[in-house]
């Protein structure tokens, strides 16, 4: 009887020692792991204002926002029609064109392929625009349409739309 209660005491002491030790170790490791996350100055949201008055219909520009390229494209009538008439069941990541733009002619996208992070081609007039007349990622062959939606290839999602707003008719603020 005495031995039994002694064993229980032993078990309790062992368990509580290990638990306290584990908690202490975890608490010690946490700041080290956390230090590897983006620092405060990195997180501080950058905003970029872009003057788009010089962009002609059918032209695109690339601006840098939080270290990433952002595509701003003034779409042609044909491109807008193409984007709007797509059957949702043909899309890998179904999203209406209307949900991806604030004004029909202006398409603003984060120019980073959702597969493995390359910058898709299609910004320059001489670039390949892929089979859907939007963008084409040369790294692993993803095709995006005129709304920046993934149509063919390994990328799982549409090109992201960054948070942006129109300050006036010719100025876009990204971020």
């Amino acid at each position: 009887m005495a031995e039994n209660s002694n064993n229980k005491r032993r078990d309790f002491l062992q368990l509580s020692t290990v638990t306290i030790g584990a908690v202490g170790t975890a608490a010690f490791i946490w700041p080290f792991l956390k230090s590897m996350n983006p620092a405060e100055d990195t997180i501080a949201l950058g905003t970029t204002e872009v003057d788009v008055s010089q962009i002609e219909e059918g032209q695109s520009i690339t601006v840098k926002w939080r270290g990433k390229p952002v595509f701003i494209r003034k779409r042609t009538k044909d491109e807008i029609d193409e984007a709007k008439t797509v059957n949702m069941s043909d899309l890998k990541d179904p999203e209406e064109d209307i949900d991806r733009v604030k004004k029909d002619e202006w398409l603003v996208l984060v120019g980073v392929c959702t597969h493995l992070g390359c910058v898709p081609l299609g910004q320059k007039l001489t670039d390949s625009k892929g089979e859907y007349n939007g963008w084409y990622c040369p790294c692993h062959g993803s095709h995006y349409d005129t709304s920046g939606r993934i149509r063919k290839g390994p990328a799982p999602e549409n090109l992201a739309v960054p948070p942006y707003s129109f300050l006036n008719d010719t100025t876009i603020k990204i971020g």
Partner: protein
């Protein structure tokens, strides 16, 4: 007074003094002097020593390069160019280091091929094999981190593509990627930590190499016949026989690597990496280092992001369980008439995967990569266990000495041999 006299094992009193306090002299005598090596070991058994020497060369050349390198996005590329143009013998240090990395992989691949063909991974050397796969994994990580440091276009976009692999993991992927990068894209925080890790990992590798060598010395080295040592007649001492043999291998290796360092230092380099990193322009064709290309081919062969990443990591992970996938008791492929050919085809297949991994993933290349992917996993998961069951191995020699007396040919088993196997 009388208890103070120290044992006199060696003639040199200094050695005795050390030995009495730290028995390191007798340890080296045992492990590197009298250590018995099977006498039938061929030059494939020199690649472990070659790999160790290359690792030390990489660490030394790396330390001296680090004295002149600046891990900052604005200065990294220029500091590497300065090493090439202005630092005394900087060009030599860098070409030793960059080509040394490639040769390190060549050596380790031959070392792995040796281990697979002669069945060195089997009982009782499974843990040894596992430690080796860990070393291989750490080597791949280290070379990837190091490739980022020159901050050229291939550095930047290679780092982007590889770290994006982690974003394929459901739920935690995106957060994990950001944590690894320390930023939302590959940036200065990334370059800094990659440099820190690239500096420290080789020392971790060195430690595991120590365990790897200690583990193989427990049961002794395997040999081309794949049979156990039975008597002193089966072995020669490491010193001087194997040391001399390894020294010849090192000389030949030195000639080969020098030829590349001095006459073709950029043979295995990508020209795009001499263009400074530009986060807004992706090179038309991102090429991994050739020694990682087979796994890159597997990644691209799968039309699904998560699936590709899973199979790529799976292709490495499956190596860990090879000792348990192989159902045959016979180690050496010399005595396995069927498995031998599948093994050879596996090596060719790996080479082909590497080749298509460096070409665009489309059309015929993509098809070849898919066939190669199927064979890679088929070899481990189906062929290796299955052949072990149905194959009738050739007669093994009774002992290593017997190899030289004509044993191990297709003679019927003697009674004593049957007893052994």
């Amino acid at each position: 007074m009388s208890g103070n006299s120290e044992p006199r094992k060696y003639k040199n009193p200094v050695l005795n003094w050390i030995e009495f306090r730290l028995p390191i002299i007798s340890y080296f005598e045992k492990e590197y002097g009298d250590y018995p090596m099977p006498k039938n070991c061929n030059y494939f058994w020199s690649f472990g020593a070659l790999a160790t020497i290359t690792l030390v060369t990489m660490i030394v050349s790396g330390i001296f390069l680090a004295m002149n390198y600046t891990p900052h996005t604005e200065m990294a590329f220029d500091s590497v160019e300065r090493i090439m143009r202005d630092v005394n013998y900087g060009w030599l240090l860098r070409y030793i280091h960059s080509n040394g990395a490639a040769f390190f992989f060549i050596i380790v691949y031959i070392h792995i091929v040796r281990g697979m063909y002669y069945g060195s991974y089997k009982y009782p050397r499974e843990l040894n094999w596992i430690l080796g796969v860990f070393i291989y994994l750490l080597m791949m990580a280290t070379s990837f981190l190091g490739y980022t440091l020159p901050w050229g276009q291939m550095s930047y976009w290679g780092a982007t593509v590889i770290t994006n692999l982690f974003s394929a993991i459901p739920f935690i992927g995106e957060g994990l990627k950001t944590w690894l990068l320390g930023d939302y894209t590959v940036g200065n925080a990334t370059l800094n930590r990659f440099f820190a890790l690239h500096y420290v990992l080789p020392f971790v590798i060195f430690g595991i190499v120590g365990l790897h060598v200690a583990a193989v010395h427990v049961h002794g080295s395997n040999n081309p016949a794949g049979i156990d040592i039975r008597s002193k007649n089966d072995t020669v001492n490491f010193f001087p026989y194997m040391l001399i043999k390894d020294t010849i291998a090192v000389c030949v290796f030195g000639v080969l690597i020098s030829a590349v360092i001095f006459f073709g230092p950029n043979l295995m380099a990508e020209v795009d990496n001499y263009i400074p990193a530009d986060p807004l322009v992706t090179p038309a064709h991102i090429v991994p280092n050739w020694y990682l290309a087979p796994f890159y081919a597997i990644l691209r062969a799968v039309p699904d992001k998560l699936g590709g990443v899973a199979l790529m990591f799976g292709a490495i992970a499956i190596l860990f369980v090879l000792p348990w996938l192989d159902t045959s008791k016979v180690r050496s492929c010399n005595f396995r008439p069927m498995y031998k050919w599948f093994m050879m085809l596996f090596f060719v297949n790996f080479f082909v995967l590497g080749y298509v991994g460096m070409l665009p993933a489309e059309g015929l290349y993509l098809l070849i990569a898919r066939v190669g992917l199927v064979y890679y996993f088929g070899f481990f998961l189906i062929i290796t266990p299955f052949i072990g069951w149905i194959e009738k191995p050739k007669t093994l020699p009774a002992s290593i000495s017997d190899v030289y007396l004509g044993g191990g040919k297709d003679s019927p088993l003697t009674a004593s041999q049957k007893e052994i196997y």
